[in-house]
């Protein structure tokens, strides 16, 4: 445990002093501040047209005419943050010839991957948590409406889901860093998978659903439902969609505001008259959250096993 802590502290110090941390932090803060500017511009209109009481949450969900909401930005940036903190975790150590020197120290091999993983999660949590809190702070000062206890809880759960989602991407890119020798290959593979899940799954889902159950002007309700179910079923293989779905349910309990395009759950919640209670929202987001956590655990477990079993070769 002591060796994990030593590696964790060293990695944490490395992350905080690295250029990639500063660049990501700057980028996320810039985006966050831009989106809060947008939401403050539009929040009055949004609050007036809304029937629910969750005004404070609109800081995160209100989009402008041109710029999307903070949630959209976040769903875009979290995978990037995760990938950046994981893609070179192991192969850099291997390529810099530090790995065999590290492994010749009296530490268990898993201490290395555990320490790096924990440091990555911590750094990512700081970036994500801090921007969400900063937005809450600025919003509180400007709109003057304090968040209710339920809103605070929703924000905390939202942070938790964001961290789990980032952890998944970090675990995935760390897996590539274990199995691939070159850092360029591991980052490109991780980005390719992200692009596939973020953009292509939706297109593929739509194409397959339309092929299997075409929604024409004369389509029956059964066909429309079939189309919807096929589309939703395929989209749900994407962690990006699961994340979007869960934060949508969590932060737009009434579903009165649509801020992300093609979010089917939001379409459904449009039909709801009353906002979901926190308990109901949690029941709704539970499967998506568990799926994200499970995916993160699976990716890390595979990285862990591969790394432990990887034989150190002399060359």
């Amino acid at each position: 445990m002591k060796s994990v802590l030593t590696i964790y502290r060293k990695e944490l110090a490395d992350y905080f002093s690295s250029k990639k941390f500063l660049i990501l932090l700057g980028l996320v803060y810039l985006t966050g501040l831009t989106s809060i500017y947008v939401s403050i511009q539009n929040i009055r209109a949004a609050a007036q047209s809304s029937t629910d009481a969750f005004v404070f949450l609109k800081l995160y969900t209100t989009a402008g005419d041109v710029l999307p909401s903070f949630l959209y930005f976040l769903s875009f940036f979290i995978p990037i943050i995760g990938i950046v903190f994981g893609f070179d975790a192991i192969n850099t150590e291997r390529n810099s010839k530090n790995l065999s020197r590290l492994l010749s120290q009296p530490i268990y091999r898993d201490s290395i991957i555990n320490g790096k993983f924990l440091a990555g999660i911590t750094t990512m949590s700081i970036i994500i948590g801090s921007i969400i809190m900063i937005i809450a702070g600025i919003g509180l000062r400007i709109i003057g409406v304090p968040p209710s206890s339920e809103e605070i809880l929703r924000i905390l759960i939202f942070i938790f889901i964001c961290i789990c989602y980032g952890t998944f991407w970090m675990a995935l890119s760390m897996l590539f860093s274990v199995i691939m020798d070159k850092t360029a290959t591991s980052i490109l593979t991780a980005i390719a998978i992200w692009i596939f899940f973020f953009f292509f799954v939706q297109i593929i889902a739509n194409a397959i659903a339309n092929a299997m159950a075409p929604v024409t002007d004369n389509a029956t309700l059964a066909t429309q439902i079939k189309n919807f179910n096929i589309d939703l079923g395929i989209k749900r293989i994407s962690p990006a969609y699961l994340f979007t779905e869960s934060i949508t349910i969590l932060l737009i309990p009434s579903g009165s505001q649509l801020f992300l395009r093609a979010v089917t759950t939001a379409d459904i919640s449009k039909m709801l008259l009353n906002p979901l209670s926190l308990g109901q929202s949690l029941i709704q987001v539970w499967p998506q959250t568990v799926a994200i956590i499970a995916l993160a655990i699976i990716c890390f477990a595979i990285s862990y096993i591969v790394f432990i079993k990887q034989e150190i070769r002399s060359t």
Partner: protein, 312 residues
């Protein structure tokens, strides 16, 4: 058994169908500097990795400091320093920070770390570079820092893999001198795997020669040259024009000649003394014989090494 810091019995390592280490039986006594020699692919580095528990043997037994690397790798690594062929450090950290990290991983109490770092850096002559980032270090400085890095844990055994590879002669000699002094003063056992035989020869008490995963020769220089050249100290090489057989008969009659062998126009004379004058007299006094070249050399590890591979 207690006198041996390392012993292996029928140690075998296979990667798929390829046998990299083949029934290796190795015994290295405490306090020695042992040279592990062999061409690329001989299995030296794989042996080293198995000694440290970083690679698992396919079969056979290993004992390092009385522990089995497969069962007690942490214990072995607590007392064993290892410097791989291409040593890596965190380039953005200073020499002291790199050593501090190693010290922390070795659970050295934090209070003792600064003095320990100073001590190790002074042994390798890098005190002044203590606070310089490693990316500014030359290869030789990195190797010296590597030695400091392995010394930080007070090792009983240190393993260097191709330690002097790519270093200029002066730096390599400085490093070997440091190792020699550490062995003498601190009684640390060293295993040095190297291609630079002339350098290894200077400090090793004993060498093992590996080929295709097998130990094909082992001993100190005297033992090895005895096996190879009948224990002669010098080899006089004579090249002539004329009948070689007549000359050989005359040379054999000289006092102190141990062995005489010949090829088409060259004669190789094994001896413990420098008999060049006597040999040249014989050759030049013979009718119809012209001496074209005469050379003498004392047997080096390289000769032993090359002869082993000529035989293999």
């Amino acid at each position: 058994m207690d006198n041996y810091i390392i012993s292996t019995k029928n140690l075998t390592k296979k990667y798929g169908s390829k046998t990299v280490v083949d029934n290796l039986n190795l015994s290295i006594p405490k306090g020695q500097i042992y040279g592990l020699l062999g061409p690329n692919g001989a299995g030296k580095s794989t042996v080293i990795l198995m000694l440290l528990g970083l690679a698992e043997p396919s079969s056979g037994d290993i004992s390092v400091l009385g522990y089995k690397p497969t069962k007690d790798p942490l214990r072995i690594k607590s007392f064993t320093g290892y410097l791989p062929e291409r040593v890596g450090f965190y380039e953005d950290m200073t020499a002291a920070q790199n050593l501090e990290y190693t010290a922390l991983l070795n659970s050295i109490p934090e209070k003792e770390i600064p003095s320990k770092i100073d001590e190790c850096l002074s042994i390798v002559g890098l005190q002044k570079e203590k606070n310089i980032v490693v990316k500014q270090f030359s290869k030789g400085m990195k190797q010296r820092l590597g030695i400091a890095d392995v010394l930080i844990k007070n090792p009983q055994l240190v393993i260097f893999d191709e330690l002097t590879e790519g270093l200029d002669l002066e730096v390599a000699n400085q490093i070997l001198e440091t190792i020699f002094n550490l062995n003498k003063d601190k009684k640390i056992t060293f295993i040095i795997s190297s291609h630079q035989l002339n350098l290894v020869q200077k400090i090793c008490h004993k060498v093992g020669i590996m080929s295709k995963g097998k130990l094909i020769g082992e001993g100190n220089m005297a033992e090895l040259s005895k096996n190879m050249f009948g224990g002669n100290k010098y080899l006089i090489e004579v090249e002539i024009i004329g009948d070689v057989n007549n000359v050989i008969e005359k040379i054999k009659s000289l006092k102190g000649i141990k062995t005489v062998t010949s090829t088409e126009n060259a004669i190789h004379i094994g001896t413990d003394e420098d008999l060049r004058q006597d040999v040249s007299k014989i050759v030049t006094n013979m009718d119809g014989i012209i001496l074209t070249k005469m050379d003498i050399k004392d047997f080096s590890l390289e000769d032993v090494y090359l002869n082993y591979f000529k035989e293999v």
